[in-house]
């Protein structure tokens, strides 16, 4: 994967496939601790202990395939970049995947186009509640998709492509200004 935001998308796809209704995506960047932390937490069907232990084996999958590369790839990357990957899961409750990286590591890919990752997720799964938060050295951009939709007076923007594109631009604007040190906003309805 060329971007960390593609790994975020991949982790969220796992959560969606597990039947999640609420998915929390949290990114934390801390220069002082030289840390980048990525957490994806869902309320899907979860894994039993045996499955959880197998989850990082690239030749293990629960989807009827011979390989399952999503988690092994991000585990390898975090290890390579001086971090680690932790998976906590409870059957019937959900799963939490946390990946950490040394933020200044030469092998760490860029975060990339997070707005596009969120755009395709909001467009194809408007019924799922996405709780997004991105913190950079104490400043934060965060929103809850359900609250944003409600503030816009719509239950489901799925049938409104123009609004979805506008949402992407809104996220991209805040992601850019967050990087430049301007945005510090939590959207609450």
């Amino acid at each position: 994967m060329k971007e960390l935001s593609l790994h975020v998308l991949d982790l969220v796809e796992n959560a969606l496939r597990a039947g999640a209704r609420r998915i929390t995506i949290s990114l934390l960047e801390d220069s002082a601790r030289d840390l980048l932390e990525m957490v994806v937490e869902d309320d899907g069907k979860g894994m039993d202990e045996k499955t959880r232990q197998q989850a990082l084996n690239p030749f293990f999958s629960t989807k009827g395939k011979k390989v399952g590369l999503g988690l092994p790839l991000i585990a390898q990357l975090s290890k390579q970049c001086g971090g680690s990957l932790e998976i906590a899961s409870e059957e019937g409750k959900g799963t939490r995947v946390k990946a950490t990286f040394r933020r200044s590591h030469i092998d760490l890919p860029p975060l990339g186009n997070l707005a596009e990752t969120l755009f395709v997720l909001l467009a194809s799964h408007p019924e799922v509640e996405f709780v997004f938060s991105h913190e950079v050295d104490g400043r934060r951009f965060s929103f809850n998709s359900r609250e944003v939709f409600r503030a816009l007076g719509t239950e489901n923007p799925g049938g409104n492509p123009v609004l979805l594109s506008a949402l992407r631009d809104w996220i991209a604007y805040h992601e850019n200004t967050l990087r430049e040190g301007q945005t510090d906003e939590d959207y609450k309805s």
């Binding site: 467009a123 503030a151 809104w170």
Partner: protein, 122 residues
Amino acid sequence: MKITSLEDLKRIKEEAQKRALLREGKAEYKITVHMGTCGIAAGARQVMAAILDEIAKRNLTNVLVTQAGCIGLCDREPLVSIEKGTERVLYGDLTPEKARQLVASHIVNGQIVGDWVVHTER
């Protein structure tokens, strides 16, 4: 125009709704982007974003865009299938540019792009 606030979003939503009312229709086409790890690594996100963007630009209201997982044709990713009624066409080796052309050709003009087809079901 820069979209910086929820107010901007609200205004865009209202304008879009006015236009949508003029040409109300049910989803005639269903576009599925295959979004497994293999698809994502090959560029499925960019392909899906291009499709959504093209649909917004053309203000198409008869298309539903959704996702699915890996279907075992990882070497032909990014894969996209377009369904209408019982007809299902699977396209492979796509790029964002090809995806935009698919919207124009397959959806708007009703012409299947034969060169990019992996499989067809009727």
